[in-house]
Protein backbone atom coordinates (compact mmCIF):
# COMPACT_ATOMS: atom_id res chain seq x y z
CA UNK A 1 0.00 0.00 0.00
CA UNK A 2 2.81 2.40 0.91
CA UNK A 3 4.54 1.64 -2.39
CA UNK A 4 1.40 2.42 -4.35
CA UNK A 5 0.93 5.67 -2.45
CA UNK A 6 4.54 6.67 -3.04
CA UNK A 7 4.07 6.16 -6.77
CA UNK A 8 0.90 8.26 -6.71
CA UNK A 9 2.73 11.01 -4.82
CA UNK A 10 5.46 10.90 -7.46
CA UNK A 11 2.90 11.18 -10.27
CA UNK A 12 1.18 14.13 -8.57
CA UNK A 13 4.52 15.90 -8.19
CA UNK A 14 5.34 15.24 -11.84
CA UNK A 15 1.99 16.63 -13.02
CA UNK A 16 2.33 19.65 -10.74
CA UNK A 17 5.84 20.33 -11.98
CA UNK A 18 4.72 20.10 -15.59
CA UNK A 19 1.91 22.58 -14.93
CA UNK A 20 4.22 24.98 -13.07
CA UNK A 21 6.61 25.05 -16.01
CA UNK A 22 3.89 26.14 -18.43
CA UNK A 23 3.36 29.77 -19.39
CA UNK A 24 -0.24 30.34 -18.38
CA UNK A 25 -0.61 31.75 -14.88
CA UNK A 26 -3.77 29.78 -14.18
CA UNK A 27 -2.03 26.50 -14.97
CA UNK A 28 0.84 27.44 -12.70
CA UNK A 29 -1.54 28.05 -9.81
CA UNK A 30 -3.21 24.69 -10.43
CA UNK A 31 0.26 23.16 -10.52
CA UNK A 32 1.18 24.48 -7.06
CA UNK A 33 -2.12 23.15 -5.78
CA UNK A 34 -1.51 19.68 -7.23
CA UNK A 35 2.00 19.58 -5.77
CA UNK A 36 0.65 20.62 -2.38
CA UNK A 37 -1.83 17.73 -2.50
CA UNK A 38 1.03 15.42 -3.35
CA UNK A 39 2.85 16.59 -0.25
CA UNK A 40 -0.26 16.00 1.88
CA UNK A 41 -0.50 12.44 0.64
CA UNK A 42 3.20 12.06 1.34
CA UNK A 43 2.70 13.05 4.99
CA UNK A 44 -0.04 10.50 5.52
CA UNK A 45 2.04 7.82 3.81
CA UNK A 46 5.04 8.66 5.95
CA UNK A 47 2.95 8.24 9.09
CA UNK A 48 2.34 4.61 8.11
CA UNK A 49 -0.86 3.28 6.55
CA UNK A 50 -2.83 0.87 8.65
CA UNK A 51 -6.32 -0.24 7.81
CA UNK A 52 -9.07 -0.65 10.32
CA UNK A 53 -7.66 1.37 13.22
CA UNK A 54 -8.95 4.72 14.45
CA UNK A 55 -6.57 7.54 15.22
CA UNK A 56 -7.01 7.14 18.94
CA UNK A 57 -5.40 5.28 21.78
CA UNK A 58 -7.87 3.14 23.65
CA UNK A 59 -7.81 -0.04 25.68
CA UNK A 60 -10.11 -2.06 23.46
CA UNK A 61 -8.33 -1.29 20.17
CA UNK A 62 -5.54 -3.56 19.05
CA UNK A 63 -4.40 -1.36 16.16
CA UNK A 64 -4.38 2.41 15.95
CA UNK A 65 -3.22 5.03 13.49
CA UNK A 66 -0.72 7.74 14.36
CA UNK A 67 -2.87 10.89 14.77
CA UNK A 68 -0.06 13.41 14.28
CA UNK A 69 0.22 13.17 10.46
CA UNK A 70 -3.53 13.69 10.22
CA UNK A 71 -3.29 16.82 12.35
CA UNK A 72 -0.43 18.04 10.18
CA UNK A 73 -2.36 17.46 6.97
CA UNK A 74 -5.37 19.33 8.29
CA UNK A 75 -3.21 22.37 9.07
CA UNK A 76 -1.36 22.14 5.80
CA UNK A 77 -4.57 21.85 3.75
CA UNK A 78 -6.03 24.93 5.41
CA UNK A 79 -2.90 26.96 4.73
CA UNK A 80 -2.73 25.75 1.15
CA UNK A 81 -6.40 26.59 0.67
CA UNK A 82 -5.81 30.15 1.87
CA UNK A 83 -2.78 30.65 -0.34
CA UNK A 84 -4.47 29.24 -3.43
CA UNK A 85 -7.43 31.56 -2.85
CA UNK A 86 -5.08 34.52 -2.47
CA UNK A 87 -3.16 33.55 -5.59
CA UNK A 88 -6.33 33.29 -7.67
CA UNK A 89 -7.47 36.74 -6.56
CA UNK A 90 -4.02 38.13 -7.22
CA UNK A 91 -3.96 36.56 -10.68
CA UNK A 92 -7.37 38.04 -11.51
CA UNK A 93 -6.32 41.48 -10.29
CA UNK A 94 -3.07 41.42 -12.20
CA UNK A 95 -4.93 40.26 -15.30
CA UNK A 96 -7.09 43.36 -14.96
CA UNK A 97 -4.16 45.72 -14.41
CA UNK A 98 -1.45 44.24 -16.59
CA UNK A 99 -3.78 42.80 -19.20
CA UNK A 100 -2.13 39.42 -19.63
CA UNK A 101 -1.72 36.15 -17.81
CA UNK A 102 1.14 34.95 -19.96
CA UNK A 103 4.30 34.66 -17.86
CA UNK A 104 6.45 35.66 -20.83
CA UNK A 105 4.89 39.11 -20.74
CA UNK A 106 4.96 39.39 -16.96
CA UNK A 107 8.76 39.27 -16.81
CA UNK A 108 11.08 42.21 -16.39
CA UNK A 109 10.27 45.62 -14.98
CA UNK A 110 10.40 49.29 -15.88
CA UNK A 111 14.06 49.36 -15.01
CA UNK A 112 15.21 47.23 -17.95
Amino acid sequence: METLMSIIVGILFAIGMYLILSKSLLRIILGTSVIAHGSHLLIITMGGLKTGGPALLGKHFTTFVDPIPQALILTSIVINFAITAFLLVLAYRSYQVVGTENMERLRGNDNE
Binding site: I20, R93, S94, L106, N111
Partner: protein, 499 residues
Protein backbone atom coordinates in the same frame (compact mmCIF):
# COMPACT_ATOMS: atom_id res chain seq x y z
CA UNK B 1 6.79 27.41 32.86
CA UNK B 2 6.83 31.12 32.17
CA UNK B 3 3.72 32.62 30.66
CA UNK B 4 5.56 35.77 29.56
CA UNK B 5 7.07 33.74 26.73
CA UNK B 6 3.86 33.76 24.73
CA UNK B 7 3.35 37.54 24.93
CA UNK B 8 5.57 38.64 22.01
CA UNK B 9 3.20 36.66 19.79
CA UNK B 10 -0.02 37.46 21.60
CA UNK B 11 0.31 41.27 21.84
CA UNK B 12 0.60 42.00 18.09
CA UNK B 13 -2.02 39.35 17.32
CA UNK B 14 -4.62 40.93 19.60
CA UNK B 15 -3.67 44.43 18.49
CA UNK B 16 -4.01 43.43 14.84
CA UNK B 17 -7.39 41.76 15.35
CA UNK B 18 -8.64 44.79 17.25
CA UNK B 19 -7.49 47.20 14.53
CA UNK B 20 -9.41 45.38 11.79
CA UNK B 21 -12.67 46.47 13.41
CA UNK B 22 -11.70 50.15 13.14
CA UNK B 23 -10.65 50.31 9.51
CA UNK B 24 -11.52 53.98 9.03
CA UNK B 25 -9.95 55.21 12.25
CA UNK B 26 -6.36 55.76 11.18
CA UNK B 27 -5.35 57.69 14.29
CA UNK B 28 -6.39 54.84 16.56
CA UNK B 29 -4.54 52.33 14.40
CA UNK B 30 -1.35 54.40 14.52
CA UNK B 31 -1.43 54.72 18.28
CA UNK B 32 -2.28 51.08 18.77
CA UNK B 33 0.56 49.99 16.45
CA UNK B 34 3.13 51.97 18.39
CA UNK B 35 1.78 50.80 21.75
CA UNK B 36 1.75 47.18 20.63
CA UNK B 37 5.32 47.25 19.28
CA UNK B 38 6.69 49.13 22.28
CA UNK B 39 5.01 46.65 24.64
CA UNK B 40 6.43 43.74 22.63
CA UNK B 41 9.90 45.27 22.86
CA UNK B 42 9.57 45.74 26.61
CA UNK B 43 8.42 42.15 27.11
CA UNK B 44 11.31 40.98 24.93
CA UNK B 45 13.77 43.00 27.04
CA UNK B 46 12.30 41.50 30.20
CA UNK B 47 12.67 38.00 28.72
CA UNK B 48 16.25 38.84 27.74
CA UNK B 49 17.08 39.67 31.35
CA UNK B 50 15.33 36.54 32.57
CA UNK B 51 17.15 34.27 30.13
CA UNK B 52 20.43 35.93 31.03
CA UNK B 53 19.92 35.35 34.76
CA UNK B 54 17.93 32.13 34.93
CA UNK B 55 18.60 30.28 31.67
CA UNK B 56 16.22 29.21 28.93
CA UNK B 57 12.52 29.95 29.51
CA UNK B 58 9.76 27.72 28.16
CA UNK B 59 5.98 27.52 28.15
CA UNK B 60 4.02 24.34 27.40
CA UNK B 61 0.99 25.45 25.42
CA UNK B 62 -2.23 24.01 26.81
CA UNK B 63 -0.26 22.43 29.63
CA UNK B 64 0.89 19.47 27.51
CA UNK B 65 4.36 18.21 28.40
CA UNK B 66 7.20 18.88 26.01
CA UNK B 67 7.53 16.25 23.32
CA UNK B 68 3.75 15.70 23.16
CA UNK B 69 2.48 19.26 23.10
CA UNK B 70 3.81 22.37 21.42
CA UNK B 71 6.36 24.36 23.39
CA UNK B 72 7.51 27.92 23.07
CA UNK B 73 11.15 28.33 23.98
CA UNK B 74 13.15 31.50 24.52
CA UNK B 75 16.87 30.99 24.54
CA UNK B 76 19.39 33.79 24.22
CA UNK B 77 19.39 33.79 20.42
CA UNK B 78 15.59 34.09 20.28
CA UNK B 79 15.54 36.75 22.99
CA UNK B 80 18.12 38.91 21.19
CA UNK B 81 16.28 38.59 17.90
CA UNK B 82 12.95 39.39 19.58
CA UNK B 83 14.37 42.59 21.04
CA UNK B 84 15.87 43.64 17.71
CA UNK B 85 12.62 42.85 15.89
CA UNK B 86 10.69 44.91 18.42
CA UNK B 87 12.94 47.94 18.05
CA UNK B 88 13.13 47.76 14.26
CA UNK B 89 9.36 47.33 13.86
CA UNK B 90 8.63 50.24 16.23
CA UNK B 91 10.90 52.57 14.28
CA UNK B 92 9.59 51.40 10.92
CA UNK B 93 6.01 52.04 11.96
CA UNK B 94 7.02 55.57 13.06
CA UNK B 95 8.51 56.08 9.61
CA UNK B 96 5.34 54.74 8.00
CA UNK B 97 3.19 57.51 9.54
CA UNK B 98 4.60 60.09 7.15
CA UNK B 99 5.42 57.93 4.16
CA UNK B 100 2.90 55.17 3.58
CA UNK B 101 -0.01 57.29 2.38
CA UNK B 102 -3.73 57.51 3.11
CA UNK B 103 -4.82 54.77 0.70
CA UNK B 104 -2.66 52.04 2.16
CA UNK B 105 -3.45 53.15 5.72
CA UNK B 106 -7.12 52.77 4.93
CA UNK B 107 -6.63 49.26 3.62
CA UNK B 108 -5.28 47.42 6.63
CA UNK B 109 -1.60 48.37 6.41
CA UNK B 110 -1.22 48.53 10.20
CA UNK B 111 -3.05 45.27 11.03
CA UNK B 112 -1.06 43.47 8.32
CA UNK B 113 2.15 44.75 9.84
CA UNK B 114 1.04 43.39 13.21
CA UNK B 115 0.31 39.97 11.69
CA UNK B 116 3.69 39.98 9.98
CA UNK B 117 5.36 40.53 13.35
CA UNK B 118 3.18 37.75 14.83
CA UNK B 119 4.70 35.37 12.29
CA UNK B 120 8.24 36.64 12.79
CA UNK B 121 8.08 36.46 16.59
CA UNK B 122 6.33 33.09 16.46
CA UNK B 123 9.13 31.69 14.32
CA UNK B 124 11.71 32.90 16.83
CA UNK B 125 9.75 31.47 19.76
CA UNK B 126 8.51 28.08 18.70
CA UNK B 127 10.21 24.86 19.71
CA UNK B 128 8.27 22.66 17.32
CA UNK B 129 9.25 22.26 13.70
CA UNK B 130 5.74 22.03 12.29
CA UNK B 131 4.77 25.06 14.29
CA UNK B 132 7.76 26.80 12.69
CA UNK B 133 6.17 26.04 9.32
CA UNK B 134 2.87 27.51 10.48
CA UNK B 135 4.54 30.68 11.79
CA UNK B 136 6.45 30.99 8.53
CA UNK B 137 3.15 30.83 6.66
CA UNK B 138 1.56 33.48 8.90
CA UNK B 139 4.52 35.73 8.18
CA UNK B 140 4.55 34.99 4.45
CA UNK B 141 0.83 35.44 3.93
CA UNK B 142 1.01 38.89 5.55
CA UNK B 143 4.03 39.69 3.42
CA UNK B 144 2.18 38.67 0.23
CA UNK B 145 -0.57 41.13 1.02
CA UNK B 146 1.83 43.88 2.10
CA UNK B 147 3.81 43.42 -1.09
CA UNK B 148 0.76 43.73 -3.32
CA UNK B 149 -0.95 46.42 -1.21
CA UNK B 150 -1.56 49.39 -3.46
CA UNK B 151 -1.88 47.27 -6.58
CA UNK B 152 0.51 49.08 -8.91
CA UNK B 153 1.55 47.23 -12.04
CA UNK B 154 5.09 46.56 -10.84
CA UNK B 155 3.90 45.38 -7.43
CA UNK B 156 1.42 42.91 -8.89
CA UNK B 157 3.99 41.51 -11.30
CA UNK B 158 6.55 40.98 -8.56
CA UNK B 159 4.03 39.65 -6.04
CA UNK B 160 3.02 36.83 -8.38
CA UNK B 161 6.62 35.63 -8.65
CA UNK B 162 7.24 36.08 -4.93
CA UNK B 163 4.12 34.15 -3.95
CA UNK B 164 4.82 31.33 -6.40
CA UNK B 165 8.41 30.78 -5.29
CA UNK B 166 7.41 30.89 -1.64
CA UNK B 167 4.47 28.53 -2.12
CA UNK B 168 6.79 26.04 -3.78
CA UNK B 169 9.39 26.30 -1.03
CA UNK B 170 6.70 25.92 1.63
CA UNK B 171 5.56 22.72 -0.06
CA UNK B 172 9.15 21.49 0.03
CA UNK B 173 9.22 22.43 3.73
CA UNK B 174 6.19 20.18 4.34
CA UNK B 175 7.83 17.36 2.38
CA UNK B 176 11.03 17.71 4.40
CA UNK B 177 9.04 17.60 7.65
CA UNK B 178 7.24 14.47 6.42
CA UNK B 179 10.55 12.73 5.71
CA UNK B 180 11.98 13.78 9.07
CA UNK B 181 8.88 12.58 10.89
CA UNK B 182 9.04 9.24 9.08
CA UNK B 183 12.64 8.67 10.19
CA UNK B 184 12.66 9.93 13.78
CA UNK B 185 8.97 10.07 14.69
CA UNK B 186 8.90 13.42 16.50
CA UNK B 187 8.50 17.11 15.68
CA UNK B 188 9.72 18.80 18.86
CA UNK B 189 13.10 20.36 18.09
CA UNK B 190 14.76 19.33 21.34
CA UNK B 191 13.40 15.80 20.95
CA UNK B 192 14.54 15.77 17.32
CA UNK B 193 18.03 16.68 18.47
CA UNK B 194 18.04 13.77 20.96
CA UNK B 195 16.68 11.26 18.43
CA UNK B 196 19.04 12.33 15.65
CA UNK B 197 21.98 12.08 18.05
CA UNK B 198 20.86 8.60 19.17
CA UNK B 199 20.33 7.29 15.64
CA UNK B 200 23.53 8.91 14.43
CA UNK B 201 23.21 11.30 11.51
CA UNK B 202 23.22 8.63 8.82
CA UNK B 203 23.10 9.17 5.09
CA UNK B 204 19.33 9.44 4.97
CA UNK B 205 19.16 12.03 7.73
CA UNK B 206 21.87 14.07 6.03
CA UNK B 207 19.78 14.07 2.87
CA UNK B 208 16.83 15.35 4.91
CA UNK B 209 19.14 17.99 6.38
CA UNK B 210 20.09 19.13 2.88
CA UNK B 211 16.40 19.23 2.01
CA UNK B 212 15.90 21.66 4.89
CA UNK B 213 18.96 23.57 3.72
CA UNK B 214 17.33 24.09 0.30
CA UNK B 215 14.03 25.17 1.85
CA UNK B 216 15.58 27.71 4.20
CA UNK B 217 18.03 28.91 1.56
CA UNK B 218 15.06 29.89 -0.56
CA UNK B 219 13.50 31.73 2.38
CA UNK B 220 16.74 33.37 3.52
CA UNK B 221 17.96 34.21 -0.01
CA UNK B 222 21.10 32.15 0.52
CA UNK B 223 22.33 31.55 -3.04
CA UNK B 224 18.72 30.91 -4.18
CA UNK B 225 18.12 34.67 -4.13
CA UNK B 226 16.89 35.26 -7.69
CA UNK B 227 13.42 36.30 -6.46
CA UNK B 228 14.69 38.88 -3.97
CA UNK B 229 15.87 41.97 -5.89
CA UNK B 230 12.63 42.26 -7.84
CA UNK B 231 10.34 41.60 -4.89
CA UNK B 232 12.12 43.94 -2.46
CA UNK B 233 12.27 46.83 -4.89
CA UNK B 234 8.56 46.86 -5.76
CA UNK B 235 6.82 47.95 -2.51
CA UNK B 236 7.08 51.35 -0.74
CA UNK B 237 10.37 51.85 1.14
CA UNK B 238 9.01 51.20 4.61
CA UNK B 239 7.62 47.80 3.60
CA UNK B 240 10.90 46.99 1.84
CA UNK B 241 12.72 47.99 5.04
CA UNK B 242 10.65 45.59 7.13
CA UNK B 243 11.19 42.82 4.57
CA UNK B 244 14.92 43.44 4.27
CA UNK B 245 15.39 43.69 8.00
CA UNK B 246 13.19 40.82 9.16
CA UNK B 247 12.01 38.31 6.56
CA UNK B 248 15.30 36.92 5.28
CA UNK B 249 16.59 36.99 8.85
CA UNK B 250 13.88 34.55 9.93
CA UNK B 251 15.23 32.14 7.31
CA UNK B 252 18.72 32.66 8.70
CA UNK B 253 17.44 32.01 12.21
CA UNK B 254 15.89 28.73 10.99
CA UNK B 255 19.21 27.73 9.40
CA UNK B 256 20.98 28.51 12.69
CA UNK B 257 18.52 26.36 14.61
CA UNK B 258 18.59 23.41 12.22
CA UNK B 259 22.36 23.27 11.85
CA UNK B 260 23.36 23.94 15.45
CA UNK B 261 20.62 22.10 17.34
CA UNK B 262 19.62 19.17 15.14
CA UNK B 263 21.94 18.45 12.22
CA UNK B 264 25.35 19.24 13.69
CA UNK B 265 26.87 15.75 13.46
CA UNK B 266 28.21 15.90 9.93
CA UNK B 267 29.73 19.38 9.55
CA UNK B 268 32.09 18.06 6.87
CA UNK B 269 29.05 17.72 4.59
CA UNK B 270 26.38 20.17 5.69
CA UNK B 271 28.54 23.02 6.97
CA UNK B 272 30.94 22.83 4.02
CA UNK B 273 27.91 23.10 1.77
CA UNK B 274 26.74 26.11 3.77
CA UNK B 275 30.19 27.64 3.32
CA UNK B 276 30.15 27.15 -0.45
CA UNK B 277 26.67 28.65 -0.72
CA UNK B 278 27.69 31.57 1.51
CA UNK B 279 30.76 32.31 -0.61
CA UNK B 280 28.76 32.20 -3.86
CA UNK B 281 26.06 34.39 -2.33
CA UNK B 282 28.57 37.05 -1.30
CA UNK B 283 30.25 37.14 -4.71
CA UNK B 284 27.09 37.08 -6.82
CA UNK B 285 25.23 39.49 -4.52
CA UNK B 286 28.22 41.84 -4.60
CA UNK B 287 28.45 41.77 -8.38
CA UNK B 288 24.73 42.44 -8.58
CA UNK B 289 25.05 45.39 -6.21
CA UNK B 290 27.82 47.12 -8.14
CA UNK B 291 26.10 46.53 -11.49
CA UNK B 292 22.82 48.26 -10.58
CA UNK B 293 21.97 51.91 -11.18
CA UNK B 294 18.83 52.19 -9.10
CA UNK B 295 18.88 52.73 -5.33
CA UNK B 296 16.20 50.14 -4.67
CA UNK B 297 18.09 47.41 -6.51
CA UNK B 298 21.45 48.29 -4.97
CA UNK B 299 19.93 48.04 -1.49
CA UNK B 300 18.18 44.75 -2.30
CA UNK B 301 21.45 43.21 -3.46
CA UNK B 302 23.08 44.43 -0.25
CA UNK B 303 20.57 42.33 1.71
CA UNK B 304 21.87 39.29 -0.18
CA UNK B 305 25.52 40.04 0.63
CA UNK B 306 24.62 40.32 4.32
CA UNK B 307 22.94 36.90 4.25
CA UNK B 308 26.03 35.31 2.72
CA UNK B 309 28.30 36.86 5.33
CA UNK B 310 26.18 35.75 8.30
CA UNK B 311 25.96 32.19 7.00
CA UNK B 312 29.72 32.06 6.47
CA UNK B 313 30.01 32.51 10.26
CA UNK B 314 27.74 29.49 10.75
CA UNK B 315 29.75 27.51 8.19
CA UNK B 316 33.03 28.10 10.04
CA UNK B 317 31.25 26.75 13.14
CA UNK B 318 33.68 27.62 15.94
CA UNK B 319 32.48 29.36 19.13
CA UNK B 320 33.93 32.73 18.14
CA UNK B 321 32.65 32.51 14.58
CA UNK B 322 29.13 31.80 15.85
CA UNK B 323 29.38 34.78 18.22
CA UNK B 324 30.44 36.87 15.23
CA UNK B 325 27.54 35.55 13.15
CA UNK B 326 24.94 36.33 15.83
CA UNK B 327 26.47 39.76 16.37
CA UNK B 328 26.46 40.48 12.66
CA UNK B 329 22.88 39.19 12.36
CA UNK B 330 21.65 41.72 14.93
CA UNK B 331 23.69 44.52 13.36
CA UNK B 332 22.41 43.59 9.92
CA UNK B 333 18.76 43.73 11.03
CA UNK B 334 19.15 47.27 12.36
CA UNK B 335 21.38 48.57 9.57
CA UNK B 336 19.42 47.12 6.64
CA UNK B 337 16.27 48.74 8.05
CA UNK B 338 18.18 52.03 8.33
CA UNK B 339 19.54 51.76 4.81
CA UNK B 340 16.13 51.12 3.26
CA UNK B 341 14.55 53.95 5.27
CA UNK B 342 17.27 56.39 4.20
CA UNK B 343 16.96 55.19 0.61
CA UNK B 344 13.24 55.80 0.96
CA UNK B 345 13.86 59.35 2.17
CA UNK B 346 16.14 60.01 -0.82
CA UNK B 347 13.52 58.64 -3.20
CA UNK B 348 10.85 60.79 -1.56
CA UNK B 349 12.92 63.89 -2.29
CA UNK B 350 13.98 62.97 -5.83
CA UNK B 351 10.80 61.18 -6.82
CA UNK B 352 12.65 58.23 -8.34
CA UNK B 353 15.35 55.74 -7.44
CA UNK B 354 17.54 56.25 -10.49
CA UNK B 355 21.04 57.44 -9.64
CA UNK B 356 21.41 59.69 -12.67
CA UNK B 357 18.38 61.74 -11.65
CA UNK B 358 19.88 62.87 -8.36
CA UNK B 359 22.84 64.91 -7.21
CA UNK B 360 24.06 67.39 -4.64
CA UNK B 361 21.46 66.52 -2.05
CA UNK B 362 23.91 67.28 0.76
CA UNK B 363 23.42 71.02 0.31
CA UNK B 364 19.78 70.95 1.37
CA UNK B 365 19.80 67.71 3.36
CA UNK B 366 23.05 67.47 5.31
CA UNK B 367 21.63 65.28 8.08
CA UNK B 368 20.32 62.70 5.59
CA UNK B 369 23.70 62.62 3.85
CA UNK B 370 25.73 62.11 6.98
CA UNK B 371 23.40 59.40 8.25
CA UNK B 372 23.70 57.60 4.93
CA UNK B 373 27.48 57.78 5.17
CA UNK B 374 27.40 56.35 8.70
CA UNK B 375 25.18 53.49 7.54
CA UNK B 376 27.54 52.82 4.64
CA UNK B 377 30.63 52.75 6.84
CA UNK B 378 28.85 50.59 9.38
CA UNK B 379 27.90 47.98 6.78
CA UNK B 380 31.41 48.02 5.34
CA UNK B 381 32.71 47.21 8.82
CA UNK B 382 34.64 50.35 9.75
CA UNK B 383 35.36 50.57 13.50
CA UNK B 384 33.94 51.70 15.85
CA UNK B 385 30.60 51.19 14.11
CA UNK B 386 28.48 48.08 14.54
CA UNK B 387 29.57 45.99 11.56
CA UNK B 388 33.17 45.83 12.70
CA UNK B 389 32.93 43.35 15.60
CA UNK B 390 31.04 40.70 13.65
CA UNK B 391 33.32 40.97 10.65
CA UNK B 392 36.49 40.77 12.72
CA UNK B 393 35.35 37.67 14.60
CA UNK B 394 34.14 35.79 11.52
CA UNK B 395 37.17 36.57 9.38
CA UNK B 396 39.62 35.88 12.21
CA UNK B 397 38.07 32.46 12.81
CA UNK B 398 37.95 31.75 9.09
CA UNK B 399 41.66 32.41 8.83
CA UNK B 400 42.35 30.33 11.95
CA UNK B 401 40.37 27.39 10.56
CA UNK B 402 42.13 27.80 7.23
CA UNK B 403 45.06 25.99 8.83
CA UNK B 404 43.09 22.72 8.89
CA UNK B 405 41.15 23.15 5.68
CA UNK B 406 42.51 25.57 3.10
CA UNK B 407 39.06 26.30 1.65
CA UNK B 408 38.29 28.44 4.71
CA UNK B 409 41.00 30.86 3.56
CA UNK B 410 38.86 31.39 0.49
CA UNK B 411 35.76 31.98 2.59
CA UNK B 412 37.55 34.59 4.75
CA UNK B 413 39.05 36.26 1.69
CA UNK B 414 35.68 36.45 -0.04
CA UNK B 415 34.19 37.84 3.16
CA UNK B 416 36.72 40.67 3.09
CA UNK B 417 36.25 41.15 -0.63
CA UNK B 418 32.48 41.43 -0.18
CA UNK B 419 33.04 44.32 2.26
CA UNK B 420 34.69 46.23 -0.56
CA UNK B 421 31.79 45.51 -2.87
CA UNK B 422 29.36 46.74 -0.20
CA UNK B 423 31.43 49.87 0.29
CA UNK B 424 31.70 50.53 -3.43
CA UNK B 425 28.02 49.97 -4.18
CA UNK B 426 26.83 52.19 -1.32
CA UNK B 427 29.40 54.91 -1.90
CA UNK B 428 28.16 55.02 -5.47
CA UNK B 429 24.78 56.10 -4.11
CA UNK B 430 26.47 58.57 -1.77
CA UNK B 431 28.68 60.14 -4.43
CA UNK B 432 25.97 60.28 -7.08
CA UNK B 433 23.25 61.39 -4.74
CA UNK B 434 24.93 63.77 -2.34
CA UNK B 435 28.00 65.14 -4.09
CA UNK B 436 28.13 67.20 -7.23
CA UNK B 437 25.88 69.85 -8.58
CA UNK B 438 22.56 70.35 -6.81
CA UNK B 439 19.98 69.29 -9.38
CA UNK B 440 16.91 70.04 -7.30
CA UNK B 441 16.31 73.33 -5.55
CA UNK B 442 14.22 73.16 -2.40
CA UNK B 443 10.92 74.03 -4.05
CA UNK B 444 11.48 71.53 -6.89
CA UNK B 445 11.63 68.56 -4.53
CA UNK B 446 8.92 65.97 -4.97
CA UNK B 447 8.27 65.34 -1.29
CA UNK B 448 9.38 66.41 2.15
CA UNK B 449 11.35 64.38 4.66
CA UNK B 450 9.32 65.75 7.54
CA UNK B 451 9.10 63.07 10.23
CA UNK B 452 11.15 60.60 8.21
CA UNK B 453 14.52 61.41 9.72
CA UNK B 454 13.69 60.83 13.39
CA UNK B 455 13.37 57.01 13.13
CA UNK B 456 16.50 56.97 10.98
CA UNK B 457 18.41 58.96 13.58
CA UNK B 458 17.33 56.52 16.29
CA UNK B 459 18.53 53.60 14.16
CA UNK B 460 21.87 55.36 13.63
CA UNK B 461 22.11 55.72 17.41
CA UNK B 462 21.47 51.98 17.77
CA UNK B 463 24.14 51.26 15.18
CA UNK B 464 26.70 53.37 17.03
CA UNK B 465 25.65 51.81 20.34
CA UNK B 466 26.09 48.29 18.93
CA UNK B 467 29.61 49.21 17.88
CA UNK B 468 30.78 51.30 20.82
CA UNK B 469 28.91 49.25 23.43
CA UNK B 470 30.10 45.92 22.03
CA UNK B 471 31.80 45.11 25.33
CA UNK B 472 28.50 45.52 27.13
CA UNK B 473 26.50 43.36 24.68
CA UNK B 474 29.17 40.70 24.34
CA UNK B 475 28.14 38.57 27.40
CA UNK B 476 24.62 38.22 25.99
CA UNK B 477 25.84 37.13 22.60
CA UNK B 478 28.40 34.84 24.13
CA UNK B 479 25.61 33.13 26.07
CA UNK B 480 23.61 32.77 22.86
CA UNK B 481 26.57 31.12 21.14
CA UNK B 482 27.26 28.84 24.10
CA UNK B 483 23.72 27.54 24.11
CA UNK B 484 23.78 27.13 20.33
CA UNK B 485 26.97 25.08 20.40
CA UNK B 486 25.87 22.92 23.34
CA UNK B 487 22.50 21.48 22.30
CA UNK B 488 22.28 19.77 25.71
CA UNK B 489 21.48 23.09 27.37
CA UNK B 490 18.48 23.55 25.08
CA UNK B 491 17.39 19.90 25.39
CA UNK B 492 17.59 19.93 29.17
CA UNK B 493 15.56 23.12 29.41
CA UNK B 494 12.80 21.74 27.18
CA UNK B 495 12.73 18.07 28.10
CA UNK B 496 14.36 18.28 31.55
CA UNK B 497 11.33 16.97 33.41
CA UNK B 498 10.76 14.10 30.97
CA UNK B 499 14.20 12.60 30.49
Amino acid sequence: MNNFVVLPLLIPLLAGLFMIIFRKNTILQRWLSVISFVLTTLVALYLLRQVFNQGIQIVNLGGWQAPFGIVFVVDMLSALLLVTTGIVSTLCVLYAFNSIGKEREGFYFYPLLQFLIVGVNGSFLTGDIFNLFVCFEVMLLSSYVLLSLGGTKLQLKETIKYVLINTLSSTLFVVAIAYLYAVVGTLNMAHLSVRVAEAGQTGFLTVVAIFFLIVFSLKAALFLYFWLPGAYSAPPPVIAAIFGALLTKVGIYALFRMFTLIFYHQPEITHILLGILAALTMVLGGLGAIAQKDIRYILSYNVIIGVGFIISGLAIFTPKAVIGAVYYLIHDMAMKALLFLLGGAIMTIVGSGKLKEMGGLIRNHPLLGWMFLIATLSLAGIPPLSGFVGKVLIIEEGLAKGGTNASFYWLAALGLFSSFLVLYSLLKIFINGFWGETLLSEDMEKGSTKGLLLPCALLVAIGIFLGVGAEWIYPYIEQAATSMLNPNIYIEAVLGEVI
